[in-house]
Symmetry: C2
Subunit: 793 residues, 2 copies
């Protein structure tokens, strides 16, 4: 969509913004962020200002601070963690004759930025007339390397357009740059002022290094830069360094028709252990590699890496160009968040902004890892390795809470619990089930027995132990899990949350199976047959409340007896509700922030009949407000399953456009990784009907009315294959690897070297469900959208 | 009991501590505190040190401070309030020859302090040998006047015992004295450092005045002192004043056999409105009155006031001297807390210490006001007037929470909510029911139609409105009140708390009745017949969950299905549980901090059958740990009702001795007013079987085995009467006023001028209930206790 209001232009393989809009800078900085999962750089302009929020992040690099409580309680986390805006190496300032390039002054005749999903770079072209009338063209291209994890690079070119001109370029490393913060919204990250203590600085020639450490968390980081400069004539450079600033200054007179080209190579590293000389060596070694590869080499590697990714992961949509773009953007950012995390978390915002303090949540395992598992399984493995690396902290937390096994944190950077509000934090034990589920999914999809033995079984058995100690067998009604918070954050501390109980049941059974197939691992952790028997007994007796009167499942005990939220009297401005109503009122009423029972029907769909799903879906549609970005993707999946394809398409739109349209009005703080993942899930699990219950892949594809074709690619075990949905027919094609057993609309078939074409059964669409007043998803009409695009272009 | 470990000596009308025990100073400072409900003075020594916690309080005088939250939420209170240790006028320092009297040095051959329940004074006698061998006798007597609300006075005498001696006395007003604080325990008041800003100071002759104000709350206070000095010969005095100190210094040579006598008169006042000159005038006027009355006059008035009180309120216990003392001490401190509050709250600790930040809770209405209503109804009226004076804040709070009517605060000094943990604060809406119940009780006991019209009906209708907006009619099971916290603080945010629902039902019905008898008031607040009908319909449909399988009432929906706390594995050192286990675990298990369903069976006993009461009582005994001081008194009442008289006596012991034996290890921060009230309740509602359902007094007296006689006095309407329980017989006697209709063990009778003697029916005691391991109340054997006393004395 090229709506002038939004600014983005539509293109299948890129995201382009033409013109400069100061108001929109912050959110484009998020969508234009580059990352490889280790280094993250927001899409600020090279000249530093104007800007929204600058931001350079190193995954896992945080500062610690005390969490304040007016009334303390036992077991409250004492220390918070906040991602640090580290030394900024993106900055290249320019003096044109004697005027600094600042787009708030003078005039830009051309200005555009393009995020290219295939080259993996952010390009910029600006033709700028200075206040005194000098015209230059500034072109830049920037990458954070997927192949060289510690490296980023920027090519920066300036060309006089009307006359010879003197140019001065200042290329900086800047630590502790001032950052504006917002207060009042609990979702916005707490600010940290000057978090970096200078420890070492050095510069020589075109190269400089700054080493800093944090005061409380005691982490140490280094940033280094080196440069190649191509210029027509007499170049004069100087490099100098202070505690928080390293600067290479290059002055040159450039004749019209020629240009100044600066290539800036950046190396970043951090460590909990290594000394200042060691982290300095680390980043200088990274620079050496980058210089050896060179700019063109880095570009080529980046392209090759992305070609491989799209070959395994692409999703094609014929008939809705904006959606095509949005879904590829989503996959691109998920790749950026997870590609090279390597034993670090995938935060809720990736490395695109400071939102949620840079914390990782259950979002990673529940929403992001399914995408990575089937598109880039190595990245899913890495993310699970991070979780596993925190298991001692999770065991200690469980002990502190009086429980067995492992209690993984609700929000964290280093694995220790940082949630200062326990009803939404500690009590949300379902994070453990998401980790177990992601483990089981990864194991089934990869067949990675080494991971199973060394990490997976341990994750499964420690999460299972948590459930057994958290629940109890009751004489009334089986095995209960009381006092927990499910996915829906507008309820808390409830009994027998259906999602939690079903996921715990699966966790218990999978742990039993894992211990039986890895008896040595089981023995190492003291699991015996009695314990395995206890897990199975608890699983078999798991309570699943049901409201006989209404014929639906309450998402937790008693939910359907609560008052329904007065949606009719709730003005649109009062959403999200949590900013306008007290928790006490949200918790005790039927109002759902995000899919909870509906998520249970997705992930544990085999525990419900088709009729139950239809009734439950309609019931929860009427009370779900989607104040969370975690919801639309899941609602799309169930809408598609019960046959509401148009509604599913609307939800796909919401999930995919959450960040592009800034639906939650907070994209300036970073992208919503889980919502981006939800777009993929809506496509593959929604319209593709993909399910992986019991580790077996099944499909039930359906094409929404206004699309001509959907195709998506997936990895499973050593195979890659494509599913292509046409009106009335699905075409399955093996791209590489061994034949696969799959299921199509309930019928198993074998996919070998020959494509398999199977008919799509006719669908009887159910009635359109009711939605809370004003909270139905925006209706999406691709046909009309396409016409608009044609008119505008 | 004269156990040397405890230090207190037994006496029917006094509390005496002989000897000095530095470790025990803090708690004796609480038990020896003097107060009239307006001024409170902890029982520190005149010389200021050694001391535990100094403390002088003015009811309602607080400083405000921001409440910190690591994660904010809508509607969280922003401002906390903390009682201020105001200008200390208790201090009279002494120099003996050239050595300061400090009991940590030299040697005390005699030291004792006596709180006298009939004179209403604290007396002290100390014979002290200074390090260089001078011996003096220091005697003091101190009072906070019940008759002159702004006045306190100290008589201080020094007598040389072995030789002539030079004495220097420094009598101070000291503001901002440094106070030690403890951290880590959420129950301990947050400290405020130097809360008083100096505004005016003046001194002349024997008189001085200090005026201060608080920085944030903007309250202004004045303290003034004047003196009378009697001395044998040449007295030399000097008075001087600084911002935070006024000091009268008197030097005199006293021959052996003569003495120095200083009488110090203190005036205190504070205001939100008045200027410094005005509050100064106020306290100087108070001094003028005090000087006019004189020390002997103040003593006489105090005695007369207390004689009247004991005439209406005394409880006599024959057969257990320690209990006799404890119950009178309890009544004395309740009187001190409530006597002259006059439109100010009765805080949870009275004015005896800084505990709970000086906040008032529902304790006042639910536990303290029943005592005052039947012993000193004017004080009950005053306390309700305070509540009524905050009703606009409560209405605003209700609006903020999206509710109608009035939402009174969980904890407050000025009427604004100060609870920073909403599941135990905001959600505990039952505070409204306690206020309504106290109103109804006061109206029934007093017949005060003026209060009814001007305040009572408004309190009832606004609390009723809250319930109607808080609950809803559900198609499943009637009118529900979901997501609230009942009295038991080891559960929170539950559905259909039986106590809350039953109390709300009564509140709704009483509001309907009040509006019908005061149609003008109803009209003024816009109550029409429809609204009254809605109240009655909600009351009639009120849900009361019942567990058919176990045959008991769950205290809230689902409670009896939760896991029972593992008492056997809980070490004694881990009580109170809230300091050793997370809320999440306490909330989701069957473990009860304080009577909840059992309190419902006391206050709404007419909603249960006798058999239900017996079954419920036994069930909840097994899971109630009494980590709260609000519990034992109520458990005594129900134990007595179901026939467990010995158990009731044990609980009486716990309630009455909570502070004397420091059972909760926090008496240093102040006395537990509700527990002291619980001692009275255990006597009158427990052994007396007094109930006031429907505003009618009934009794079902029973004498526990080891007592010979119980007698208690009560006020009802314009009458006073006595109930005297003997083995096998109860004697009712009208002391003054009109005849009364009463009920004895279910049979109505009229009590006129002739005493009525009625037999006590035989009792079949039920089985002894189970208790959580290690949490049964201490068994009480008065016979053995009496023998110990005889041996020791």
């Amino acid at each position: 969509m090229t709506s002038p209001r939004r600014g983005y232009e539509c293109g299948p393989w890129e995201l382009r913004w033409r013109g400069l809009d100061l108001e929109e800078l912050q959110r484009t900085e998020s969508t234009f962020a580059l990352s490889n999962g280790h280094i993250g750089m927001r899409g600020t302009l090279e000249e530093g200002e104007p800007r929204g929020l600058p931001g350079t992040y190193l995954n896992g690099f945080y500062e610690q601070h005390a969490l304040p409580y007016a009334e303390r309680g036992y077991g409250y986390p004492e220390a918070g963690q906040t991602v640090v805006n580290v030394t900024d190496g993106k900055i290249i300032r320019l003096l044109v004759q004697d005027e600094p390039l600042d787009m708030r002054y003078g005039r830009a005749t051309t200005h555009e930025r393009v995020l290219d999903f295939r080259s993996g770079t952010l390009r910029r072209t600006t033709d700028w007339i200075s206040p005194t009338g000098r015209t230059v063209r500034v072109s830049s291209e920037r990458l954070v390397s997927f192949t060289q994890r510690a490296v980023a690079a920027i090519r920066y070119e300036v060309e006089p357009l009307d006359d010879d001109v003197q140019l001065v370029v200042q290329s900086d490393l800047l630590a502790n740059e001032p950052v504006e913060t917002e207060a009042g919204d609990p979702r916005v990250a707490a600010a940290l002022k000057s978090p970096l203590n200078a420890e070492f600085s050095w510069a020589d020639g075109y190269r400089a290094v700054l080493v800093h450490h944090t005061a409380v968390s005691g982490l140490r980081m280094a940033a280094a830069m080196d440069h190649e400069i191509e210029t027509p004539s007499g170049l004069r450079t100087r490099i100098r360094v202070e505690d928080d600033l390293a600067r290479l200054t290059a002055a040159v007179d450039v004749p019209k028709g020629q240009r100044l080209r600066v290539t800036k190579f950046l190396g970043y590293g951090w460590s909990t252990q290594r000394s200042a000389p060691a982290v300095r060596s680390q980043v200088e070694a990274a620079l050496a590699g980058a210089l050896q590869t060179g700019w063109d080499g880095l570009l080529a590697e980046q392209r090759e890496y992305l070609d491989r990714f799209w070959d395994s992961a692409d999703v094609e949509i014929d008939g809705d160009p904006e959606m095509q773009q949005a879904v590829r953007l989503a996959l691109f950012h998920i790749l950026q968040a997870g590609a090279r995390g390597e034993n670090r978390a995938i935060p809720g915002k990736g490395l695109t902004g400071p939102g949620y303090d840079g914390h990782a949540f259950w979002d990673t395992e529940a929403f992001v890892l399914p995408v990575l598992t089937y598109t880039m399984p190595g990245a899913a493995r890495d993310a699970l390795l991070w979780r596993h690396s925190t298991i001692d902290k999770a065991r200690a937390r469980a002990r502190q809470l009086g429980l067995r096994g492992a209690a993984f944190p609700w929000r964290s950077i280093n694995g220790a619990e940082c949630s200062a509000y326990w009803p939404a934090g500690t009590a949300a034990f379902h994070v453990g089930a998401a980790i177990a589920e992601a483990t089981v999914r990864y194991l089934a999809a990869s067949g990675d027995t080494e991971f199973d033995e060394q990490h997976g079984t341990e994750l499964l058995l420690e999460t299972a132990r948590l459930w057994l100690s958290l629940g109890h067998h009751d004489q009334h009604d089986g095995f209960r899990i009381d006092g927990v918070t499910g996915p829906d954050e507008y309820s808390a501390v409830t009994d027998n949350n259906v999602y939690t109980n079903l996921m715990a049941r699966r966790n218990l059974r999978e742990a039993a199976a894992a211990c039986e197939r890895n008896p040595d691992v089981a023995a190492m952790f003291g699991v015996d047959a009695t314990e395995i028997g206890d897990w199975r007994a608890a699983a078999d007796a798991m309570t699943m409340p049901y409201d006989e009167l209404l014929g639906v499942h309450p998402q937790s005990e008693g939910f359907t007896q609560h008052a329904v939220w007065d949606f009719a009297s709730t003005p649109a401005a009062n959403y999200p509700l949590l900013l306008h109503y007290p928790y006490f009122d949200l918790y005790r009423k039927q109002v759902v922030k995000q899919a909870d029972l509906v998520l249970a029907m997705h992930l544990c769909g085999d525990a419900f009949t088709a009729e139950q799903k239809a009734r439950n879906f309609a019931y929860y549609e009427a009370v779900t407000v989607r104040d969370s970005s975690l919801s639309a993707g899941t609602q799309a999946v169930l809408a598609a399953e019960v046959g509401n394809l148009d509604l599913a398409y609307d939800y796909l739109g919401e999930a995919a456009l959450t960040d592009l349209h800034d639906l939650h009005n907070n994209v300036r703080n970073g992208l919503h990784m889980a919502s981006l993942a939800g777009a993929w899930t809506a496509m593959v699990a929604g319209f593709g009907g993909m399910r992986d219950h019991g580790g077996r892949l099944s499909f039930a594809p359906r094409l929404p009315g206004e699309l001509n074709r959907i195709a998506f690619r997936m990895c499973f075990r050593d195979s890659r294959f494509e599913v292509e949905i046409h009106p009335g027919e699905t075409r399955y094609r093996l791209l590489s690897g061994s034949p696969l057993r799959l299921t199509h609309h309930g019928s198993a078939f074998e996919l070998g070297t020959e494509p398999v074409h199977l008919p799509i059964p006719r669908l009887t669409a159910p009635p359109w469900p009711e939605h809370p007043a004003g909270r139905a998803p925006i209706r999406r009409h691709p046909e009309r959208i396409r016409r608009n695009i044609e008119q505008e272009s």
